[in-house]
Every structure is written in structure tokens, then in C-alpha cells.
């Protein structure tokens, strides 16, 4: 069902959801925006540009308990199956979540992620404000026509088109049933937003057609750009940690004072960090900064596409902002590979 509502009706509905279940939404945090616990609809800022961290933090938390132990081999699985709603996911971040779904489902199912995910209701919203570094328009993620539970689009005139596509979406949208159905005009206005976003979410312009990216990388393994840029790389992992499609983790035990009870947790990790590929005994299989730097762009543009069939960069632009050395712009990197090829 696709409805059209005014701002007041939208807020009334969001407040109803908040009263019913754990709700997160985009809010102002100083002069930036962040997904936080949502206490009232008035705090929800669907007009945001980009959040500091992607909503990934609710699906794969920075630190997530996997097991509790109470002795040498007494392990108990810890699952988080408490339902929750996230309001205000931009399409590029939604695409990233869909990719995480594919990865955690693939081969050996990761129940810790998947059970939490199965209880999440994802309310997406189309982009109103273009952020400083977004390039989703180049990555096919400026808008999505499916994949969300609910999609909210602010159309010309100020009303919101609310597209409720799944059972999970319907489960929180009872009160919208009585709202007006979106008519042709409203849907055309939404299409207009999509087209406009596709054109304007291009603060950086990728010159490479996405389907050619793996081949371009295949040919660019020894390109001087890796070494050049890595000279200025701190190996701080900021690009990894703010990335909506980075999901690598370390596993650590945390033991209580009795040295018997404790938890095994997974913690966000990043392939740019110096010790990422180091084994016990000290051998580091990716010792050079340049090798680690290159690995990230290959994962996004080649390795993960080979694994899940999608480019694993969604164009949110967070890494560009987060990199203090200003070397992490994927568009610059991929375009540079292209130029070199044309020179030959």
C-alpha cells in the first residue's frame, strides 16, 4: 500500500510507533546528524544530509556479545531478538544493509546478525539534502524501489508518500491504513524526486561504468596509485569504521573478576589496521600500508562483487569525510585507474 500524508499525520504515526517499540531515528547531533534512540517524532530529521555513522551500528553493533560463558566449556549463545524500528535510512545505507544480509546469510548462516535483522523494521527515506561527499547517483543507490519495509518520500508541495511494502512494514503502519492512497500525481512526484536524486547525488563523478570496475581493478593491481596514496595513510581505519558495507570483525573474550564468567564478543575491525592480517607468532600477511590500502578498494570494487554480485561501495561518501589525510575518495581512486589505462 502506498499512502500520502501531511507532516502532522506522519509525526502522529511515528509517535505511535515510538510508544509501541524500540525506535531509532535520525536526529541532529550538534551540527551533524546521527541515528539515535528516538523519543518523539518531532526530533526525527528526515531532511538530514548524511549521518556520522550508518545504521549498520544497530544491526552489527560496534561491540556485540556472541556468547556468554560460565566455565571452561559452558557456553550460551546470546541473541538479540527484541524488535525495533529504524526511521530515516537513506537508500544508499539501505543497499548496504541488503548487502550485509547477503553476506551473513551466505554459506554458514550468522544467526547473531540474522535474528537481530529479522526483527528490524527498516523505514527508509529518500534524500532531501545532498551531503558534502555523496556520490550515490554514480553507484545506482540514489533511490531504491524495494528492499525497505517502508519508504518515505517528501514530494513537491510538502506531503510525504509512504510506501509500505512488507508485512513487517504493515505491522507498524496500522494507523496509516485510513490515510489517503497515493494517487498517480503523487507517484509521479515521487518519481520526480528519484530522478532528481539520481542526477544530483553526484558530488564526485565516477567515470567508470560499475560493471567494468572489476576488470579495471584486475588490470590495476600494480598501479602506482596504491603506493602513492598509502604514503599518506595513517592506517587508522577511519574509512573502514564509518563504511556502511564494512563488516569485518575481531573476536575477543572479556572475563569477569572471578576469571570464570565472561563473554565472547565481536568488535568492529578494519582491513586498513596494521595487525589485521597478522597471525599468532607475528607474521603479517599484509604488512605494507599500500597492500592494506589497495585491499580495501579491491574488496569494494572486485572481491565482494564477485561474491555477492553487487558493488560494495554505495556512494555515501563517509570515508571521504572521515579520512583526515584525504586519500580515501573511492571515486578518485577508480577514476585514476581509468586514466592510466587510457594513456596506454
Amino acid at each position: 500500500m502506498i499512502k500520502i500524508v501531511g507532516k502532522d499525520a506522519l509525526e502522529t504515526w511515528v509517535d505511535e510507533v515510538i510508544a509501541r517499540m524500540r525506535t531509532y531515528g535520525v536526529q541532529a547531533k550538534g551540527d551533524h546528524f546521527s541515528f539515535e534512540s528516538l523519543r518523539r517524532a518531532a526530533d526525527l530529521r528526515l531532511d538530514y544530509d548524511v549521518t556520522i555513522l550508518p545504521p549498520k551500528k544497530y544491526l552489527q553493533p560496534p561491540r556485540e556479545t556472541l556468547l556468554r560463558f560460565s566455565g571452561a566449556v559452558e557456553y550460551e549463545s546470546v541473541f538479540d531478538e527484541d524488535p525495533f524500528v529504524i526511521f530515516g535510512i537513506h537508500p544508499y545505507d539501505l543497499e548496504a544493509i541488503l548487502q550485509m544480509d547477503a553476506i551473513f546469510e551466505k554459506d554458514q548462516r550468522d544467526e547473531h546478525y540474522l535474528r537481530r535483522r529479522s526483527k528490524a523494521v527498516l523505514v527508509a527515506c529518500d534524500v532531501e539534502t545532498v551531503s558534502e561527499n555523496v556520490f550515490a547517483g554514480c553507484m545506482g543507490t540514489a533511490y531504491l524501489e524495494s528492499g525497505f519495509d517502508i519508504l518515505i518520500t517528501k514530494i513537491d508541495g510538502g506531503d510525504y508518500v509512504v510506501d509500505i511494502q512488507t508485512d513487517a512494514g504493515r505491522s507498524i503502519a496500522d494507523s496509516l491504513k485510513s490515510a489517503k492512497d497515493a494517487n498517480k500525481k503523487a507517484l509521479a512526484a515521487r518519481r520526480e524526486v528519484w530522478n532528481k536524486n539520481k542526477a544530483r547525488l553526484r558530488r564526485h563523478k565516477l567515470e567508470v561504468p560499475l560493471e567494468e570496475l572489476p576488470a579495471l581493478l584486475e588490470a590495476g593491481y600494480e598501479h602506482p596509485i596504491w603506493e602513492e596514496r598509502a604514503q599518506r595513510c595513517y592506517s587508522c581505519g577511519s574509512c573502514n569504521l564509518v563504511c556502511p558495507t564494512c563488516y569485518c570483525f575481531d573476536v575477543r573474550d572479556d572475563v569477569g573478576w572471578d576469571l570464570k564468567h565472561g563473554v565472547r564478543a565481536r568488535v568492529w575491525d578494519g582491513c586498513l589496521l596494521a595487525g589485521f592480517a597478522e597471525v599468532a607468532g607475528g607474521h603479517n600477511f599484509r604488512r605494507n600500508r599500500a597492500d592494506r590500502y589497495r585491499h580495501r578498494y579491491y574488496r569494494k570494487g572486485k572481491y565482494l562483487p564477485e561474491m555477492i554480485g553487487k558493488t560494495a561501495c554505495v556512494g555515501c561518501g563517509r570515508c571521504i569525510t572521515a579520512c583526515t589525510a584525504k586519500i580515501a575518495n573511492p571515486v578518485e581512486v577508480y577514476n585514476a585507474l581509468l586514466e592510466e589505462k587510457d594513456d596506454h
Binding site: K29, G30, D31, H32, S34, I52, L53, K57, P62, R63, Q231, R232, C233, Y234, S235, C236, G237, S238, L241, V242, R252, D254, V255, W257, D258, L259, W268, G270, L273, A274, G275, N284, R286, R287, N288, R289, A290, D291, R292, T321, A322, T324, A325, K326
Partner: protein, 252 residues
């Protein structure tokens, strides 16, 4: 299993890191279930020469301190350097940037020659004796200290991050200080503090010291992008970084 005996000693420092241990409050009782303190000037009156773990706070600035430290090392199975003064020389090491005697003359004027003020070049503990474990920070993080003690009692090598403050800072969802035009040392400084300064809106000033292979050259390179100079960065690095070496960043 008998509890390891622990002695805590202080040298040139403000004793704030010991205070962090005292500040563990109710957890102190849990800690005392694991270890038995036998000497700890800040918290008890006993003294002992019989201990397994020596915790050393402060920098080493006098020949007699070096002798005392060497004796401590001989008696201890495990020696822990506690806090920035012990691990790197800390703020005390700023003194080494000046000609010998000048800081004393500047601070104490005519009294600078008094015997109780006599002190030499500042050394970190590991410049005098081998150190087994370093608890970084000014002051230390008492949760990290607790984890380190637990690891040692279990016979484990404690987990000390070798990644930068940015990791913990990003996990906390902070906005980068560079976005506000500040020089933050986070990208080259060892994590473990849970990014406590950036999380409160202040740039990292590097109290935990560099990660193993800090790309400080990159930091000098990027200053320009933020309208800062190499000198601006250098002055930031001096507070806790005096006398610390860093690589040219060419290799991992």
C-alpha cells in the same frame, strides 16, 4: 593458587594513575580477590621486599631513582609501567628539550641549586630496566588496568591495542576534530582510552604515545589541507611526544 603479591612504587609523577586504581571503588574489592597488595604508599602503610608484580608509576629523573628501580626489577617477576610518565617519560620529558639546568633555573630561580631539587635528564622506566607490560595514558584508564591485571593473573599477555584512537573514536560516533579545524593526534596515537578526549569535544593530545608504526610524516603532509603548519603539529606532539621516535612512514 596463592594470590600474586603486588607492590606499587612511584617516581617522578603526580600519582594520578595510582589514584585511578583507588578510583575503581567497589571493584577494588574484586581486584583484592585476585592480588594481594604488599606495598602501596598511596593506600596503605605496609612495606615489603617480597612481591611478584611491581607496578611502577612515574618517570626516572635521578641516579638514586635508577638504583631503586633496578632493585625493584630484581625482585619482581613482572614489572608494569603505569601511566604516561612511566611508559614514555610523560610531561616530565618536556624538560629534556632544554639545556640541562635551565628548567630548574627558570622555575626556582636562585634556589635551583638546592640539593633536593637536583634531577637529571628524564627517562621512561624502560630506558632503565626491562618492562613487561605498559599501561598507557595520562592518567591510565582503570578499565584497561583491570583487564590487564586479570590477564596477568591468568598467565596471559594482556591485550593492548596497536591501532589508533580513531578506531574507538569512530565507534563512538564522534565527529572528527579535524572537521572543526583542530589538530588531533588521534590518527597516530594508540587507542585503549575509548577516545575519551574527542568524545568530550577535545582533540587527542597523545598521552598514550604512538602506535607501533605511526605515520607521522603523513600528519606533517596533511597539515596544509587544514590551514595548519608543520610547527603547529610539532608543538602538539611535544607535550607527550618529546623524545619519542617515529618512523618515516614509508613502510608498514
Amino acid at each position: 593458587m596463592s594470590k600474586p603479591k603486588v607492590a606499587i612504587f612511584d617516581f617522578a609523577c603526580c600519582e594520578g594513575c595510582q589514584l585511578q586504581i583507588v578510583n575503581m571503588e567497589e571493584e577494588i574489592l574484586d581486584l583484592l580477590e585476585l592480588v594481594e597488595p604488599v606495598e602501596w604508599r598511596e593506600a596503605m602503610s605496609d612495606k615489603s621486599e617480597n612481591y611478584d608484580i611491581a607496578i611502577v608509576e612515574g618517570a626516572i629523573t635521578r641516579p638514586e631513582d635508577e638504583e631503586r628501580l633496578k632493585k625493584i626489577r630484581e625482585r619482581a617477576k613482572v614489572l608494569i609501567a603505569l601511566g604516561a610518565c612511566a611508559t614514555h617519560g610523560g610531561i616530565n620529558k618536556l624538560k629534556n628539550n632544554f639545556p640541562e639546568g635551565e628548567p630548574e633555573r627558570y622555575v626556582y630561580g636562585d634556589a635551583a641549586g638546592m640539593p633536593h631539587l637536583a634531577s637529571g635528564r628524564v627517562k621512561a622506566v624502560d630506558e632503565v630496566v626491562p618492562v613487561d607490560v605498559k599501561v598507557f595514558g595520562c592518567p591510565i584508564d582503570n578499565r584497561e588496568f583491570a583487564a590487564i591485571v586479570k590477564s596477568l593473573v591468568m598467565g596471559q599477555k594482556p591485550f593492548i591495542p596497536n591501532y589508533s584512537v580513531c578506531v574507538e573514536c569512530k565507534m563512538k560516533g564522534n565527529v572528527c576534530r579535524y572537521e572543526y579545524g583542530e589538530i588531533c593526534l588521534g590518527p597516530v596515537i594508540r587507542a585503549g582510552c575509548d577516545a575519551r578526549c574527542p568524545s568530550k569535544g577535545a582533540a587527542c593530545y597523545g598521552c598514550r604515545g604512538f602506535v607501533d608504526d605511526p605515520n607521522v610524516n603523513a600528519a606533517f603532509d596533511v597539515m596544509e589541507k587544514y590551514g595548519k603548519t608543520v610547527e603547529d603539529l610539532r608543538s602538539k606532539l611535544e607535550l607527550f611526544g618529546s623524545g619519542q621516535e617515529y618512523s618515516d612512514g614509508k613502510n608498514g
